[in-house]
Symmetry: C2
Subunit: 339 residues, 2 copies
DNA sequence: CTGAAAGCGCTTACAG
DNA sequence: CTGAAAGCGCTTACAG
């Protein structure tokens, strides 16, 4: 036989019609058991696999989800944020469990990104993953919603009316970090990260943190905040600039682990000891966090559960079921950087 | 308009035939420039995207590559080896550059893995990524080759006759590590990793290392070798067992960075100082390597180039061009664990 | 430069 | 339980 076998080839060998082959392969109850078995046997012998393009075209669905991974354009080109890599892993697993394929696409937020995976029938739905600087893309998102594209966002709501979100309880995570530092009386705290509406996740972490401090009658100083995107490099420079400006603090909350790791490097370089002089708390609990020196105390996000919820909710949305925004509980992992 | 627009809708609005629309959208030179422009405008207005299922079915190709990521079943389920994650990133980028989509699938080597992406026309070719324990799967690979499936393997040759491989020069990398340790007169060396035909990459690293030692008149002791798969945990336990057996050494070469990191933990725990008492060299240069304490000396694999070569070679294979096995040069990154 | 028509390989309503 | 037939939305050889 030349080329791949088709259902017609099987029909020929099985002595039935192609329709019956199709039914048999899909285990339709309409088909006689013996016929079903014969068809399956022949299919196996011929190494037949249903042509996905044909079946997708016919059924108008793809059994595929697309993952768009948004990266900060200023981040180091070669390194992808390990937190998202972990998410990618859990999303892939969750897709496999549900019998879906996963199409992965990195999107540089600087470029004109494209989400035509559903329009072109390559995917039934889209998962958006990134540190949530979705503001600039509001227009694009609106059109996604208008076109009734099925998608779910990680981290932050894009358009509070109509999109679906799965996120960590970033506000609650900020509170956890604050409670921890307050317990150790490390009340003079710096914050590193972009606490603006451009980084809704970072902003929520900061808010929870700040509110908890406020409840203890302590207000965080604006002067002790430094802007940073989620890279080690950026955390390093932000912390350096605080030090260079003679800003003092005895604890530091970083909006992400990468930032925290960069901050620790800057502190060490300046002769400031962690944790003796400054307690440091990060966010994410990436794999590296336990290996840095000192090991990093951090607010953990459950990536396995996150992946399952993203995929699960998206599939519900595709099936037309009712879905609600999901908030996942964070947990504090205490390590050497804060005691 | 209900549902997605089709080329017939555009034809209707543009006042031309559907054939012309198809040609215009594909920028066929046969089409009148003004017609072409009009069709494109209308397509944009209707937010039309070519249905990939239909075009793939028609052209019998998918513009998609599949990446099968093999994991060691004994590895921690949640954590994916960071080296492969880095490869995944560079492969995704390389695919995007070439205009291909990437389908990602994790395969547990314990389970009966499937490579029907090409058979089912979901992908034009397959990339296999893993630490190369392909021996048990020889039969499966043979059938892939028989069925003329287009695939390229990372790391190690599967079937020396007919498959295509891109790999790091693991042997040369082993030599680099040996040369480095010999220069510091750390001649009493332990090796951690599976140096058997089940891990061809690890085996080659060990061979290069051993041969370089031999050229200096030093033979490595079998007693100073311990088996480990590529996890921190496994490296930790392997090293612990050496220590428990009172095996002495003043340097340690680990088959991967994760193993090396676990080894360092075991050494520290036993009160053995790195690098003072034992110099440690790893392999891969994963992101963590520079953050551990002490920072890890390691043999770097160029993942960016690796991704480009895997994708590039696979596409050549698909196009029927001549392709040869590719060996990428490693480089030594010297850090605090070895001086 | 354009159009009518065939056909890629399936799934499924319809008829028996 | 089975078969003949329509049709998913394209691409492209063929005819003009």
């Amino acid at each position: 036989m030349k080329g791949k076998a088709t259902s017609f080839d099987i029909a020929h060998y099985a002595g039935v019609s192609q329709s019956t082959v199709s039914r048999a392969l899909r285990n339709s109850p309409l088909v006689n058991e013996e016929t079903r078995r014969r068809v399956h046997d022949i299919a196996k012998q011929l190494n037949y696999k249903v042509d996905k393009n044909a079946s997708n075209l016919r059924t108008q669905q793809s059994s595929t989800l697309a993952l768009l991974l948004f990266e900060d354009p200023t981040a180091d080109g070669s390194q992808i944020n390990p937190f998202f890599l972990a998410m990618l892993g859990s999303i892939t697993r969750a897709c496999a469990t549900e019998g879906y394929d996963l199409l992965v696409s990195f999107q540089s937020t600087s470029a004109d990104w494209q989400a035509d995976y559903e329009d072109s029938h390559r995917a039934d739905g889209i998962i958006l993953l990134g540190y949530g600087d979705y503001i600039d893309y509001q227009a694009k998102f609106s059109s996604l919603i208008e076109q009734n594209t099925k998608f779910v966002c990680w981290g932050a709501s894009v358009d509070n009316r109509s999109d679906l979100t799965v996120s960590c309880d970033n506000y609650g995570g900020g509170e956890l970090a604050a409670t921890h530092l307050l317990k150790a009386s490390r009340k003079d705290c710096a914050f590193i990260g972009d606490a603006s509406e451009h980084s809704p996740e970072f902003f929520a972490r900061y808010q929870g943190f700040k509110d908890e401090f406020n409840r203890h009658g302590i207000s965080l100083s604006e002067r002790k905040m430094a802007n940073a995107i989620s890279t080690e490099e950026s955390g390093y420079h932000a912390t350096r600039s605080l030090i260079a400006n003679n800003i003092h603090f005895n604890s530091l909350f970083a909006a992400s682990d990468l930032i925290a790791i960069g901050a620790i490097r800057a502190l060490k370089e300046a002769g400031i000891k962690v944790p003796e002089d400054v307690h440091v708390v990060g966010f994410d609990n990436i794999a590296v966090a336990s290996y840095v020196n000192p090991p990093l105390t951090t607010v953990q996000q459950d990536t396995t559960l996150a992946g399952q919820m993203l995929v699960g909710n998206l599939l519900k949305l595709i099936r037309g079921e009712v879905v609600e925004n999901t908030l996942l509980p964070p947990s504090l992992i205490i390590r050497g950087s804060s005691f």
